[in-house]
Symmetry: C2
Subunit: 110 residues, 2 copies
DNA sequence: TATATATATTGCAATATTACGATATTGTTT
DNA sequence: AAACAATATCGTAATATTGCAATATATATA
């Protein structure tokens, strides 16, 4: 036990869970907000923006990347990170889907 | 180590992370989808919909509830669960915020 | 009141996550 | 080539999560 039983759920459910989980840490929310705040893709610099060590930040970036929420491309000595739109749109779509449904059946229960 | 350093992040970042983390498991995505699929709040029945034991489902429901994504009210012998709109709107807002920003600066980088 | 039904809590084992020091890697600059 | 800079990986300790059997709690019904 201790391992998530991904086999028992649909691919879509697992994908959404992976995306949500990737954002389930304040440092990773902070990274997304920072990538949004700066006007262009940001090269370097991310470590200095967070109250965590360089290896820890590197690990968080790796998780965001493997979840498909950001992308990074090598630029000489440093790496440029950007928000990856498809990943973001997918999870945003999930919430909009729920929200639209709730709209329709408002006041029908509770 | 091993504990998230919540102190170093803003309240907003921590709140968003809590919401996202609550959805970071396929069983909890499945619960949300099921609550949405049925036409009214659902009383009982959730355990039978999931490939997990009753204690495990109860625990997942508790996590969704404490994160503010669902609410439950006692109805005699069973409990009626519903999606909690404020929690949902908060995290949905985060994604819409990002999406709106990306729209503006499309093609400016990457 | 006794029994059944629905949900929650406890306790515990297996696994995952978080964090960071030390070190490796890769590209840049002198 | 040597020294420097930025980022990644390894190893490991502390903590959290997942899952379930066993048990508890609370309401319903016979």
């Amino acid at each position: 036990m201790g391992a998530t039983k991904t086999d028992h759920f649909t691919d879509n459910q697992n994908e959404l869970a992976v995306l949500a989980k990737a954002l389930g840490h304040p440092a990773r929310i902070a990274i997304m907000e920072y990538l949004l705040k700066v006007d262009t893709c940001i090269c370097g610099d991310i470590v200095n923006e967070l109250p965590l060590s360089q290896p820890t930040v590197s690990q968080h970036l790796k998780e965001l990347k493997s979840a498909g929420l950001i992308k990074g491309s090598i630029d000489g000595n440093s790496i440029c990170y950007c928000i990856n739109e498809p990943g973001l749109e997918k999870i945003k779509g999930f919430f909009e889907h729920i929200s639209a449904h709730l709209e329709k059946k408002r006041n029908e229960c509770c």
